[in-house]
Every structure is written in structure tokens, then in C-alpha cells.
Amino acid sequence: MNVVVVIFDAAALVAFGSTLVTGGLSYIRNRRMSVVPAVLILAAMSIMTFVALSNLLESTGVSQAVDQVEDLAEILVFPLIGYALYALNVSGQMDRVRTANNALQAEHAMLMNIVDTSPVGIVVVDDIGNATFANHFAWELLELSESDGPQCCLSAGVVVPSRAAVPESRAVFDISLVGRKVENEAWDYVSPHGRIPLQVSSTPLKDRDGRVLGSVVVFLPLAGRGALNALGQDSQ
């Protein structure tokens, strides 16, 4: 019997056994790891404990009965650990994606609250002047209603450059606005109930190739609140 080898085998048995017990208890207490990688890692450590026990039995001359089984079982150790680490990485990536998605949704909700409570009209228009998004203020002022089509809303009127004629198109915004940088221009909202003067600013939306997708339009009514209310009463 080689005493040095026996000491090494005894140390390996204690160490792998300790790994198995510590890892198992830690998993049961904390549940910090997904079940699949935990089971795979514990299986690998069980095999290594069995290998260390078999080695100790062999080196002390007690038995060589499980030597063949031990050799075969040991083949599984690297694939088990490899798959466990792969599963851990995948679950970690999924956690990170979930966290990022939650943060994105929270940010989106906050921005929507800001846009919806803003005291100016904010509308996103497509490349032909249809409104694809409107905040609460714009919805009220432009008398928007929900649309069944790809655009978000229909309007009883149309927003055109000040003193311009009303186009035949049923888009909410005149096409001349789309894709153009506009700063504080005088435009009018023209509806069957009258004409509301607006101060309009607009920024074009473009794709990576520079093609115009639409515009973000921000506007304020130039008439006072009293005049707007009177216009609303007239329409009723």
C-alpha cells in the first residue's frame, strides 16, 4: 500500500464529499441557481465523490470491485459540468434580458406620462400626414377620434399653413409639413367649427438611409383659452 496515495485519496474523498454537502445545502437554503444546472453540478460532484471513494478502496487494498464502473461514470463529469455552466450562462442572459425589458417598459411608461401630461400638442405623423400618435392635449384640440386603419386617429379638420386653402386629403396634417424642419411657424387647425391659429414646430423622422418616415409635430394654440372655449361652444 502506498501511503502517499492513500492520503491523497482520503483528502480527495473528504473534499469532494464536502463539495457535495456544501453545494447541496447551499442550493436548498438559498435557491440562487436554476434547478437544471444545480442538479447537473451536484450529479458531477456525486460521481467525483464516488470516484474518490473507489480510489481509496483500491489504494487501501480493500476492493477493486467498483473500479470499472468508476471509470465509466467519470466520463460523464466534464459533459455534466460543461452543460451546467452553459445552462447557467443562458439563464443569466435571460435574467439580464428580463431586467433590461422591465427597465425599458418603466422608462416608456414614464415618458408616456410626461408626453400625455404635457401642456402642448404632440403628434407623430407618417409620410403622408396621417397622425400615428397623439398626446392627450392634441387629441382634445384637434378633435381626434380612433381610426380602424394604420393611423391612430381621424380628425374632423386638418392642420394647414396659416391662410392656406384646405387640401382634399383627409390626413390630419398638410403634407407640406412632413420631412421638413419647422420652427414656430404659424399654422391653422381648420375644422367645420372654425379656424384655430397654432404655433407649430416639427422635426422630421428618417430611417438609416435618410428616407423620410414622417415627423414629430409639437404645437400650441395661439388663441387664448377663452377664445378656444368659445369656439368649442359654437361647435356644440
Binding site: N2, V4, A15, S26, N30, V51, D71, F78, L85, D95
Partner: protein, 94 residues
């Protein structure tokens, strides 16, 4: 002489070790170095198992069993480190 299963497990270890080490470096496990040490020691043990069939049988056998012991200690340390880390961190998953 060496056995077929010993050569097979050595081949698996040599093929999978780089992939496993790469996974380890990308993971956020708190005991990555100890796990890597354990895996390298196991690979060394497999190499020595095959080599002992050709030369210096007693020495290689002793070194093989020493490598198993080192691997066991490394894995035990990693389990202890992770257990302590997770106890401090509380709930959630890694």
C-alpha cells in the same frame, strides 16, 4: 496499460475544457478561478492516468491521485465561496 475509457475521458476533457473555461469567464459565478483550477486538475489527472501506462508508473500514479485531491479541494473551496456569497446576497438567481 491504459484502458479505453481513460483515453475517452481524457479526449472529452481536452475537447470540453476550452469551452468550459470560456463559459466560466463569461459567467458571473463568484468562484470561477477555483472551478477552473478544479477542472484543470481533473484534466491533469486524466493525462497522468494515461501516461502512467507508459512511464514511471508509481510516480505518475501518485501525481494522478494528488491531482484528484487538488481538484477536490478546489471544488470544495468554490462551493464554500458560492455558499457564503449567496447567503450574503439573499434571494434571486445567478
Amino acid at each position: 496499460m491504459f484502458q479505453a475509457s481513460e483515453v475517452f475521458q481524457l479526449a472529452l476533457a481536452i475537447v470540453l475544457s476550452p469551452l468550459i473555461i470560456r463559459s466560466l469567464t463569461q459567467s458571473k459565478l463568484p468562484a470561477r478561478r477555483n472551478i477552473a483550477t478544479g477542472l484543470m486538475s481533473l484534466t491533469a489527472a486524466y493525462v497522468l492516468t494515461v501516461v502512467e501506462g507508459f512511464a514511471a508508473e508509481e510516480l505518475m500514479n501518485a501525481l494522478e491521485h494528488a491531482a484528484y485531491a487538488v481538484a477536490g479541494v478546489a471544488f470544495a473551496l468554490s462551493a464554500r465561496t458560492m455558499s457564503r456569497f449567496w447567503s450574503r446576497q439573499g434571494g434571486g438567481s445567478t
